[in-house]
């Protein structure tokens, strides 16, 4: 029987750089690898990897496996699976960590089923049991209304990690590590899916993930118009972006890219202003990483007040204009 050893993370790139989720995976993986006294490896697969392999070392990897091929330009499950499966066969990791991103959501279950092991998705916490060395996986269930602690006796132990749940290490360019080219010949006859086109639909303006302030509206906004007027005014004033809970996106008041929640964007701004949002657990899952949450809601029992630091009970139509007016005054002074 093969000996399973070490932690492997599957990295992702954004615009040629190591994605922030991947630095978070490395931060978490480093801790687990140290607890196990084993190595931390990182797989990077794309058409060009460039400096990202060095970044992976600077953020904590001991070994970076680089699969650089034109067929890996865009994520395609049938191509990526070949790369990951082969590397896993080669290095038999004890733990595999993947981001709970659109790629990770697609890749991780395929991988776990193929490797005949188990997978815990969307984990918030991971640790190593000091006695059994098994991976203790904590993940939210029931839309965030409860959490489950899971383990498995199968190897490798695979988990995906929610964005912003883990902390990246400080970048340290003096860290030493090994960069290993991965020689995988991708069998293109196994690619069953054809990507016809990739269409960007992002609304113009600041990306929610990058915004220091988010002004977010819920079902209680009543329609699309206030998002474009009063919420936008407030967001612009605070140099932030406008988001929403699920109902406004489902109703087409805003594009899906504005949806914050369990199945939408996961954000962590300095300030999150939730307006007419009841605070369903599925929404909280997307914004609980915010440093400070402010809530305005006409229902004093709304769940959002359990998450907020400051709150006003009242109709937003009456509260917001005065709030914005005073803010303008304070920010000008």
């Amino acid at each position: 029987m093969a000996e399973y050893k070490g932690v492997l993370i599957c990295g992702e790139l954004t615009n040629g750089k190591l994605a922030s989720i991947s630095t978070e995976l490395l931060g978490c993986g480093r801790k687990l690898a140290d607890d196990l006294k084993e190595d931390l490896s990182c797989l990077l697969a794309s058409d060009t990897i460039g400096e990202a392999s060095k970044e992976a070392i600077a953020f904590g990897a001991d070994k970076v496996y680089v699969a650089e091929q034109p067929a890996l330009k865009e994520y395609q499950a049938d191509a990526y699976m070949q790369v990951v499966e082969q590397l896993v066969k080669e290095i038999s990791p004890r733990v595999i960590l993947i981001g709970q991103t659109s790629v990770g959501r697609d890749l991780a279950p395929r991988l776990a089923f193929r490797l005949e092991t188990s997978l815990a998705t969307d984990c918030l916490e991971l640790s190593i049991d000091p006695e059994t060395k098994s991976l203790i996986q904590t993940r939210p269930v029931y839309g965030g209304n409860a959490q489950a602690i899971l383990t498995t006796e199968l190897m490798p132990q695979v988990a995906t990690i929610r964005a912003k749940a883990m902390t990246a290490l400080e970048r340290d360019d003096s860290r030493k590590g090994e960069i290993i080219p991965s020689k995988v010949d991708i069998d293109t006859s196994k690619l069953r899916i054809k990507i016809l086109e990739t269409v960007k639909e992002e609304a113009v303006g600041m990306k929610l993930e990058d915004a220091p302030v988010i002004v977010s509206g819920g079902r209680g906004m009543g329609g699309p118009e206030p998002f474009q007027t009063i919420l936008k005014e407030l967001a612009d004033l605070l140099h932030g972006a406008v988001g929403s809970s699920r109902p406004p996106a489902d109703n087409g008041w805003l594009p899906e890219a504005s949806h914050i929640g369990l199945t939408g964007k996961i954000v962590g701004p300095e300030l999150y202003i939730a307006i007419a949002i009841s605070g369903a657990s599925q929404h909280i899952a997307g914004c609980s990483g915010s440093k400070h949450i402010i809530a305005i809601n006409k229902d004093s029992d709304a769940n959002i007040f359990k998450e907020a630091e400051f709150g006003v009970v009242g109709k937003y139509e009456e509260v917001l204009p005065a709030f914005i007016g005073k803010l303008k005054e304070l920010l000008a002074g």
Binding site: V141, Y142, I195, L196, T198, V199, S281, E318, L330
Partner: protein, 267 residues
Amino acid sequence: MPDINMIVCCKQVPDPEAPPSVFKVADNKIQLPQDIKPVIGQYEEFALEAALKIKDAMGGKITAICSGNNLIRDVIKKALAVGGDELVLLEDEAFEEGDSWSTAFALATAIKKIGEYDIIFCGRQSSDWDAGQVGLGIADILGLPAVTLARKVEIADGKAKIEQVIPDGYQAIEVALPVVVTVTSELGALRYAALKGIMAAAKKQPVIWKPADLGLETSQIGAAGRRSKLNKLFQPVKEAKCEMIEGETLAEAGTNLAIKLREAKLL
């Protein structure tokens, strides 16, 4: 092309829209008050709608399949009432408390027994455990391609054309049938059942399969077949710490909120 055969995997779950305050944990299980009725998971509803849209466009047969125990007929027959043709229930206590693996294995075995399928729809994730694995698991077990997070699905010339949601947009994908497709909320809400559909569904008896009907040992399915062990289910304790800002009028409360945020150096 002959009529297309579609399978939609449905799960009976506690109503995910129930207010957070009613969710309680006891004996490592979620306990909800009696008046909170179970529903078909919201993502499986989108999956049903995806199949119905294809049926609208080109006809075909929709078989809904559901695994569990004590499945409430009024709840799961919604799949028939909205326009599904057949309902297959894997119903036995042995199917209870499965994980993603044992659930996908039971469903894949049942789908093999159904035999004729061109497209298998699942929700992107269940509305209770939110794992998002079963659809991809079924695909792997059956050796089929899979496309996740579909917001639009059309069939032409023996192929599926799918719009898959990616961050900040979508990808147009083409894949040969048969295929597994997991559906996301952008596809659109499930239509309401017409009275005629409700009446027809009331008369229709579901097909019920026990583990033995699928050639399965009870050790392979449900709780016994799990690959992951549930050590503990709990609710994190949250301290309510919200400071309520008030005023003579709501406008004054708004003004006071701005002052407060400034004092707290949040702005």
